[in-house]
C-alpha cells in the first residue's frame, strides 16, 4: 500500500447515518446580545439537541459600563446619580441601598419622616417593577404587547409621582446621606394614596386576565424548577429565593429602615418553578400595597435631612461597610472602603440580578429553547445591574 493511499484512507470521513433525526448532534446557538426577549444585551451560548437545551453558558459584559471604577473616581455624593442607572427600573431602591451603606460607614442617623419617605418610595418602586416584570414575562410567553400595555399604564402613574417629587421619571437621584432631597407635599401624599388605593383594582383585573390563563399555566408550571438547597448555595435572593419556599426577606431579617413598624407578610412559593416566581411577584405587590397604606397613614411632618451631615466635602472615617436592602430583584448591597478621602477607595455593588443568573443553566437544562426565554424572564434581570 502506497503512502498516498494511506493518507486518503485516513482522510475518509466516518459514514453518515441517515436517520430521521440527528442523533447526538448538538447544535450550538448564540442567543443575543440582540434578541427580542433577552431583556437587554444579554447573551447565552446554548447547545441544543433538537429543541432541548443541553448546555447553556451566559455571556456578560455587553453593558459593562465601569460603574465601580467611576464610583472610585468620584466623590461619595457623586456616585448617587450613577446608582440610578444600575437597575434603571428601580432607581429609588438603588439610592436607598447606597445611602444605607454610606450611613453605616459614617454612622449617620435619619429623621423619622425621611425613613417613611424612603419606605414609601422604595415600595412604590417595587410595585412598578413587579408590574412591568409581569408584562415583560407575558410578552416572552407570546402575549405580545397587551399585558405590557396594561402594566405600563400603571407604571406611568407611579412614574408621574416620582417625577412630581424628584423631577425625573426614572433617574430620581432622590436620597441623600442622612435624609432625602426634597420633601413631599400633602397633595403629593394624597395623590400617592389615591394611586395606591386604586392599584388593587388593576391587580384584580390583571390576575384575572393572566394568572388563570391555561397557556400561562402550561408554559410556567414545572418549568425551570429550582431546589431550595441550590438556591441558597448559589446566593439567590429576592422573590426567586422565596419562590423555592425559603423564608428570607431582608426587610424582616435586617429590619432596616422602618420596616419593623409595618405589618406585612412574606409570600412563599412551594415548587420553585416559573409559575411560583410569577405568583411571587403578584402576591408581593399585594403586601407592598399593605405597607404603603400603613406608611402613608403614619407619616408625620418633620425634617427630612439630618442637619449634622455635611453632604458637601463629605469624608467618612477610615474603614469599610457593607449595607444591603431588599430591592425588588433581590439583595442589593454596596460594599465601601473608605481611606478617609473624598472618594471611596473601593466601591462595590452586589448586584442581585447578576448573582441570580448563576443558576440559569441549572434551571434551563432539559427544557426546550422556547422555555429558556420564559425562565430568563422570570429571573427578572436588568442588564444595567448585571454588567454594571
Amino acid at each position: 500500500m502506497s503512502a498516498t493511499l494511506q493518507t486518503l484512507e485516513a482522510m475518509e470521513r466516518p459514514p453518515v447515518r441517515m436517520t430521521s433525526r440527528l442523533e447526538g448532534e448538538l447544535l450550538e446557538v448564540s442567543m443575543g446580545p440582540q434578541h427580542p426577549s433577552t431583556h437587554g444585551v444579554f447573551r447565552m451560548n446554548v447547545a441544543l439537541e433538537g429543541e432541548i437545551v443541553r448546555k447553556l453558558k451566559p455571556v456578560f459584559g455587553y453593558l459593562h459600563r465601569n460603574h465601580e471604577q467611576i464610583g472610585e473616581h468620584t466623590t461619595y455624593l457623586g456616585s448617587m446619580p450613577y446608582t440610578d442607572r444600575l437597575d434603571y427600573f428601580c432607581s429609588m431602591s438603588n439610592n436607598w441601598a447606597y445611602a444605607l451603606s454610606v450611613e453605616k460607614l459614617a454612622g449617620i442617623e435619619l429623621p423619622e419622616r425621611a425613613q417613611y419617605l424612603r419606605v414609601i418610595l422604595a415600595e412604590l418602586t417595587r410595585l412598578q417593577n413587579h408590574a412591568s416584570l409581569l408584562g415583560f414575562l407575558l410578552s416572552d410567553m407570546g402575549a405580545w404587547g397587551t399585558p405590557l400595555m396594561y402594566a405600563f399604564r400603571e407604571r406611568e402613574k407611579i412614574l408621574d409621582l416620582f417625577e412630581s417629587l424628584s423631577g425625573a421619571r426614572m433617574m430620581c437621584d432622590y436620597m441623600r446621606f442622612g435624609g432625602c432631597r426634597v420633601d413631599a407635599s400633602d397633595e403629593w401624599l394624597a395623590r400617592a394614596k389615591q394611586i395606591v388605593d386604586r392599584f388593587p383594582k388593576f391587580l384584580d383585573e390583571f390576575e384575572e386576565l393572566i394568572l388563570g390563563n391555561e397557556i400561562v399555566i402550561a408554559r410556567t408550571q414545572n418549568v425551570g424548577t429550582l431546589s431550595a438547597d441550590l438556591a441558597i448555595s448559589a446566593g439567590i435572593t429576592g422573590p426567586m429565593l422565596r419562590a423555592c419556599g425559603v423564608n428570607y426577606d431582608i426587610r424582616k431579617v435586617d429590619g432596616y429602615g422602618f420596616y419593623p413598624r409595618f405589618k406585612f407578610r412574606i409570600p412563599l412559593g412551594e415548587h420553585g418553578d416559573t409559575y411560583d416566581r410569577l405568583m411571587m411577584r403578584a402576591l408581593e405587590m399585594r403586601e407592598t400595597i399593605e405597607i404603603l397604606k400603613q406608611a402613608l397613614a403614619q407619616i408625620q411632618p418633620g425634617p427630612i435631612v439630618n442637619p449634622k451631615v455635611r453632604i458637601r466635602a463629605f469624608r467618612p472615617p477610615v474603614g469599610e461597610a457593607y449595607g444591603r436592602i431588599e430591592a425588588p430583584k433581590g439583595e442589593l448591597g454596596f460594599y465601601l472602603i473608605s481611606d478617609g478621602g473624598p472618594n471611596p477607595y473601593r466601591y462595590r455593588v452586589r448586584p442581585p440580578s447578576f448573582i441570580n443568573l448563576t443558576v440559569l443553566e441549572d434551571m434551563c437544562l432539559g427544557h426546550s429553547v422556547a422555555d429558556v426565554m420564559v425562565i430568563l424572564g422570570s429571573v427578572d434581570i436588568v442588564m444595567g445591574e448585571v454588567d454594571r
Binding site: 459584559g61 460607614l105 446566593g235 428570607y248 472615617p317 469599610e320 457593607y322
Partner: protein
Amino acid sequence: MMESLDQIKSRIEGAVPEAKIEIVQNGSPSQQQSLLLDSEHALAIGKFLRDDPALRLDFCSNVTGVDWLDRIVKKTIKIKTAVDGVEKEVDQTTEEKIPGYLEAVYHLYSIALKHGPVIIRMRTADRAEGARLPSLTPVWRSAEFQEREIFDLYGIRFDGHPDLRRILMWDEFEDYPMRKDYVQPDDFEWEPTPHDEVLARAKQHYTLRPELDGAEALRKG
C-alpha cells in the same frame, strides 16, 4: 445572637488546626470586623463556617476584590547618637515599604439562622505572578460568577474554580482594568474648550494620533 468574632476565630482554630487567622479591625462606625484567612486552609475553613451548626453561614452574599498598591509607611523613632562627643536624642525616619497585594473579600450570612455578616478575606502574595488564591466556589456556588469577575477585573487566579474565564471584558483583553494602576487606552474625546489636564491629554493625543485629528489649531499652539 451570633458569636463574637473572637469566639468564631478560636473555634475555627480548634476545628482547623494550623490555620492562621487574624482579625482585621475596622475603624468605621459600621463595626464590621473581618477575618483574614491564610489561603492554604481557606477551603477547609469555608466548609467549617458553612457546616458548623452554630454558624451555618450557608449564604455567601458578596464576593469582591480590592487592590492595595505598594505603600510606604514612614516611622519616626528617637535614637541616641553621639554628636560631637555629646549624646543626643535624634529623630530618625525609617521608611518601610509594604509590598502591594490583592485581596478577595467574602460577605457571609446565614439563611438558616438569619444572622450575619461574617466577613472573611484572603490576600495574595503580590500583585503579579503570586496573585493566586484558592477558589471558594466549591463551598458556595454563588462565588462562581463573582470570582470570575475578580479574575477579569483584578487578575486574581482562583485555583479550583470550575470555569475561570473573563466575564465582563472580551477574551482578547489583556489588562486588569479595576487595578489602581491601570492605564486607560487613549481614546480621548474631542472637547471644544479643553483646559488644564484635559488640554495636556488632548495635545498628547493629537500628536500621537494625527489621523484622528480635527484639532489643527490646537496642535499649532
